[in-house]
Symmetry: none
Subunit: 258 residues, 2 copies
């Protein structure tokens, strides 16, 4: 993915670095600037912006970032969420109200421990945050391996964007000293990058289209979402993705006898 997007070049993933912070369709430049501050508070530097509403770069963001301009200067810009997470192995979506998606819901603390272990194992991880008002759409949530919900007063749980980033980033920072708690997954099991996963999904779905799988057509989107969620939950490694490609090829070659 990095090759196809010039803007990515400068922010090549640094091994051992903290999670990328991916802001999907942020509305106010001021909030982006405050997120930059919250990120730097927590030692995070890889900011990724997906279609910020008011364009980019943003004067309002720069003004609000006071002292954290370096984060904005290195921020990378994408059109679609799938592009922004393409080089990541493990993606966490923050949401105030998990919507019954079949994905694990973690607290920031549990997520931070897991991220730290994954990063120690060489994984590139990222945190997805949705637009100020609406939060992440289901199509974005589907890209995530895990959901993160901040445990707060259920009668008043709303946080602004920078506060949400701060709380999750804070938990990340607290895991810094000492060894990561969980046993890291063994070498080969590093999940494939999202771009490879997307590539597999598209190939699978083309095959399914050819086989008339998606009917009625109005259910197509939901069916795709469920299927992607299912495969994503398995967190296939690169090697396993190759196997899955082989499975699709072999099945399409097989004579159907049923």
């Amino acid at each position: 993915m990095a090759g196809t997007d010039k803007s990515r070049g400068a922010v090549a993933f640094a091994p051992g670095a903290g999670p990328a912070v991916v802001l999907v369709a942020p509305q106010l430049g001021q909030n982006i600037g405050m997120v930059a501050r919250a990120m730097l508070n927590c030692g995070l530097r890889d900011m990724r912006l997906v279609s910020p509403r008011d364009g980019w770069p943003s004067r309002a963001a720069l003004a609000a970032a006071a002292g954290a301009g370096e984060v904005l200067a290195r921020a990378s810009l994408f059109e679609r969420t799938a592009q922004a997470v393409a080089d990541l192995n493990l993606v966490y979506a923050t949401t105030a109200r998990p919507r019954g998606l079949a994905k694990p819901v973690l607290s920031p603390r549990t997520a931070a421990a897991e991220m730290r272990a994954s990063v120690a194992d060489g994984a590139a991880v990222g945190l997805l945050f949705g637009p100020e008002r609406s939060g992440l759409a289901n199509d974005d949530l589907v890209l995530a391996d895990r959901l993160v919900e901040v445990p707060l007063n259920p009668a008043f749980a709303s946080l602004n964007l920078a506060q949400a980033v701060l709380l999750v980033g804070y938990e990340w920072y607290q895991t810094g000293e000492g060894p990561p708690p969980g046993q890291p997954p063994s070498g080969d099991a590093l999940p494939a990058e999202k771009a490879e996963l997307m590539n597999f999904f598209e190939r699978l779905e083309a095959g399914l289209d050819a086989g008339g799988f998606f009917h009625p057509p109005e259910k197509r989107q939901g069916m795709i979402r469920n299927l992607r969620t299912l495969f994503q939950r398995a967190r296939p490694s690169q090697a396993e993705l190759r196997t899955l490609h082989g499975v699709v090829s072999a099945l399409m070659k097989a004579k159907r006898r049923e």
Copy 2:
């Protein structure tokens, strides 16, 4: 103390309640409003203001509190810090830079655990926060039993007032009942029974045999094992298994164009 200050009457300390949040000489009404929100996020309701610079009540505070006006409405006003903490048993002062005072310096997490234990024991506890620019003066720090320092990137540790309250309040909230850390995926996602899973595996593998997937033959067993491990890791539900059956059928029906 409560007796000497009429405004305190309404906010008599409620046994078992969370820490009071004492803002010493806050400058901007807007920040007071945002602190009210952060407090309510964390289930805290006892706000105490010591000589707010721009007077009290404050329109700016009310506007920024959106949704947390109840906290402002119940806030109590004092002239001096000593009055604001008079009815408290245990006071924590937050500071970015402990100045070599001979007081224990705790992280918010440690402080939260200690506060929870003290409250359970019947103590009234409070958190002191200084003015936006300067932080707490030494005369205020002297009133505290403990200092609290938030562990953040030492090169960029500055937080705004509401963020500082949020982080300490968040740690307080986490010591409460708190939701279990790793909730299982919701309802329908109960994994299918193993017999159904085996049934799917056998059908899949028959299709793969027909498509010449398993070669060389001596690798067949290992390949099957890896494939089953991968699908098993996704822990498909009954409904998802039906979908996977449909995927196999559709792919075997599809014309292979590759």
